[in-house]
């Protein structure tokens, strides 16, 4: 077991390192960035900017450093100055980048970099702003959503809303999905079973965004036009009071307002998770019901309820543990599409907003944290599996 844990943790770290590398490479490839906006704005004003100014702006975003050092600074905040041993500074003149590249125009009229006018050395890095490093939870500064504020601040402003949504969804869909799967397994091929399997088939093949839009169409638009009880179409809290027939006046930011606004996004997500989970429980339950010990329990003359709940259901839940653990990373990264449709101010929509405004540090951090949580969840799921099912030995 210890051996297994060590090996798995090592694998986990490797996966995380590679995710970070992939993330960083994409970040480096990413077009645009805050400097372009600054350059565009200043170029059009009375201000004239020369090569030195551009270099300073580039330096502000570390674009003057070599990729390798940018990566290590981004990952764990090193190097941040010359190596010090006692009083002595080592490698102070070691070049880590180029502050002002030497540019020239080639025969094709393209600008090419042929050398470096003013290199950046380790000594120059001293006193520069550096993030503590991604692995210590410092994701640098945002480029667009909240410019020059730490990415973590941006994330923290959205995390509660996503957790609120996803927690409700997970609890509700477990409460609905497990009994549905259970009953449709016990009454296999009954009308109930057919209804559940058809609905879950629908749930797994229907696109989320279409379902969400249909809900808005029915419950927010059509019902409102007909003067019936309707639901607000988006956002997490209202900014103005509104009147809903049969319910009266709903104050903005009141609990009722928030509950009304949660109904549609929650229903969309619950529908889709229930589809998956009830199907899983059903097949796992059918598997268990065929086992010898269930027949033995019946043969002993136990009541059917006891057989199903105590002998079959408990065992059917075992593989379910791993699936439920996977809901954790989902809770963090939210539901990108659903949050976008219902304008829910959570992580999913933040991700899309950040992407469309070229705020790559924010979108990459969301991605990286999501990946890290997924990897950790996989490990936890595997370990839990051995705890609840002693038949499985990890090796």
């Amino acid at each position: 077991m210890t051996n297994y844990l060590i090996r798995r943790s090592f694998q986990m770290l490797m996966v995380l390192f590679f995710s970070a590398l992939v993330t960083y490479t994409l970040l480096a490839l990413a077009p645009g960035g805050p400097w372009e906006e600054i350059l565009g704005r200043q170029g059009s004003e009375t201000m004239r900017i020369d090569a030195e100014d551009i270099a300073r702006i580039r330096a502000q975003y570390e674009l003057d450093l070599d990729q390798t050092w940018r990566f290590t600074r981004w990952l764990f905040g090193w190097p941040n100055g010359p190596i010090r041993i006692g009083e002595q500074e080592l490698l102070a003149d070691f070049q880590v980048g180029c502050f002002l590249p030497l540019e020239t125009t080639n025969a094709l009229g393209e600008t090419v970099i042929i050398g470096c006018q003013k290199p950046v050395t380790l000594k120059d890095l001293e006193g520069r702003r550096v993030s503590r490093g991604v692995i210590f939870g410092d994701f640098g500064l945002s480029w667009g959503i909240l410019r020059d504020r730490p990415v973590m601040d941006v994330l923290w402003s959205r995390i509660p809303r996503t957790l609120q949504l996803m927690f409700t969804v997970t609890v509700l869909s477990l409460m609905i999905g497990i009994p549905l799967g259970l009953v449709s397994a016990i009454r296999q091929y009954s009308l109930f079973d057919y209804t559940v399997t058809t609905l879950s088939f629908l749930g797994s093949s229907m696109p989320t965004f279409f379902f969400g839009i249909i809900l808005i169409l029915i419950f927010a638009i059509t019902f409102k036009q007909w003067g019936w009880f309707y639901l607000p179409p988006g956002d997490a809290v209202g900014s103005r009071d509104y009147v809903v027939p049969m319910l009266g006046k709903v104050e903005a930011k009141s609990l009722l307002d928030q509950v009304l606004r949660m109904i549609m996004p929650v229903s969309v997500l619950v529908f889709f998770s229930v589809a998956g989970w009830s199907r899983f429980i059903r097949s796992s339950m059918l598997e268990v019901l065929r086992q010898d010990y269930v027949r033995t329990a019946r043969a002993k003359g136990l009541r059917e309820n006891v057989v199903i709940l105590k002998h079959a259901f408990r065992n059917a839940l075992i593989p379910f543990v791993t699936i439920v653990v996977f809901a954790i990373p989902g809770m963090f990264s939210g539901a990108i599409v659903t949050e976008t449709i219902f304008n829910w101010p959570g992580m999913g929509r933040l991700f899309i907003d950040a992407l469309s405004r070229n705020d790559y540090p924010v979108s990459m951090s969301i991605f990286l944290i999501g990946a890290a949580l997924t990897v950790i969840a996989t490990l936890i799921g595997d370990i839990l599996y051995t705890i609840v099912d002693p038949r499985i030995r990890l090796s």
């Binding site: 645009g32 093949s205 696109p207 989320t208 839009i213 059509t222 990264s333 449709i341 899309i352 999501g370």
Partner: protein, 337 residues
């Protein structure tokens, strides 16, 4: 082996196949019969055929061009006749006065081409890698499967979105042969820039699509490769390549085909999600996803709008799923749940 040593073949056939025996059916006939027994799958297949034909003859069926704008005729009701040009807008027009019916047809061409290209590419790549990995085992298998596992651990949609948003803005990142761009442009009636977008989206989706196929194929190959007929082929001196191509891949193909038809549904949806979120194929090139995205801003005044591009996505996704279900029943009755 002289001619006298072999008995007259005609007699043997007569003895083995008396008149009373049922007529021999080919494998294909059996599969076809089993498939058509699945009524929803048959219906879906018919529906898809209609959509395909409409997509193939988009230019002949559509009365408007895919990006033709009639600003005087915005938000026309379905079935109304344009006062300007006298043509009928069967499904109405959008916020720029573009005819929905024509755009839906052209979009079908694009969306279905993307979905089919992705599925074909990822099935070919995935089967090949999976078969090699399963057949040779050892280091190749280890490396390939670690890589696939790694990719499958990473949340897919966010990474897809990041990559396509980057590629959209710097399309020169991946060099694409000009001939391919021209081919796609001609096939989909697009300009070279839009064709490049379509190719990018296809490539990005394929990059993730082959992973699952390769895992499935590897599993199948592992269970097949020790069977007697493979051993017999090896004893006869068939090369590894021959065994993989002639014996392993064809025999593992049933689940792959089923998976491919289910994947078609998945990619129709994924492509439209990308376009819907504005990280796929961009307006004015029509796709069901980006058309749906635009309707969302106008749905409060014109509530029927989202249904027009939304229903084709829904219908296609459902139909591909049902066909996949029918194929599963037909190809491998043991797989039936």
């Amino acid at each position: 082996m002289t001619a006298s040593a072999t008995p007259a073949p005609k007699k043997v056939v007569e003895i083995l196949q008396p008149e009373a025996m049922p007529k021999e059916e080919s494998q294909f006939t059996i599969i076809r019969r089993r498939f058509f027994r699945h009524r929803l799958a048959t219906f879906s297949l018919g529906l898809l055929l209609v959509i395909f034909i409409a997509a193939v003859f988009a230019r002949q069926l559509a009365s408007y061009g895919p990006t033709e704008i009639e600003l005087s005729n915005r938000f026309a009701l379905p079935g109304s006749v344009s006062a300007e040009s006298g043509r009928t807008n069967w499904l109405g027009t959008d916020h720029l006065g573009r005819d929905y019916f024509s755009r839906i047809l052209y979009a079908a061409r694009i969306s279905l081409t993307v979905a089919f290209s992705v599925v074909i590419l990822s099935t070919v790549i995935g089967s090949l890698f999976g078969a090699i990995s399963g057949y040779y085992g050892g280091l190749v298998d280890d490396l390939l499967m670690r890589f696939v596992e790694f990719m499958l651990t990473i949340p897919e949609l966010p990474l897809l979105l990041i990559i396509s948003s980057i590629l959209l803005q710097s399309p020169q990142a991946i060099p694409i042969p000009k001939a391919l761009i021209d081919l796609v442009a001609a096939l989909l009636y697009l300009g070279p820039r839009e064709a490049l977008q379509v190719i990018m989206v296809t490539l990005v989706l394929t990059a993730f699509g082959w992973l699952g196929v390769s895992r499935l194929m590897r599993g199948m190959v592992l269970s097949i490769k020790n069977m007697e007929y493979v051993e017999a082929a090896r004893a006869l001196g068939v090369s590894d390549f021959g065994i993989i191509m002639r014996h392993l891949i064809p025999n593992a193909f049933a689940p792959i085909i089923v998976q491919a038809s289910l994947a078609l549904a998945g990619f129709v949806i994924t492509e439209s999600v990308l376009s819907f979120l504005a990280f796929g194929i961009q307006d004015p090139t029509p796709t069901w996803g980006n058309m749906l995205a635009f309707t969302q801003s106008y749905m409060f005044e014109h509530p029927w709008l989202p249904l027009i591009p939304g229903l084709p996505i829904f219908i296609c996704a459902m139909a591909f799923n049902f066909v996949g279900d029918g194929l599963r029943d037909a190809l491998d009755p043991r797989l039936k749940h």
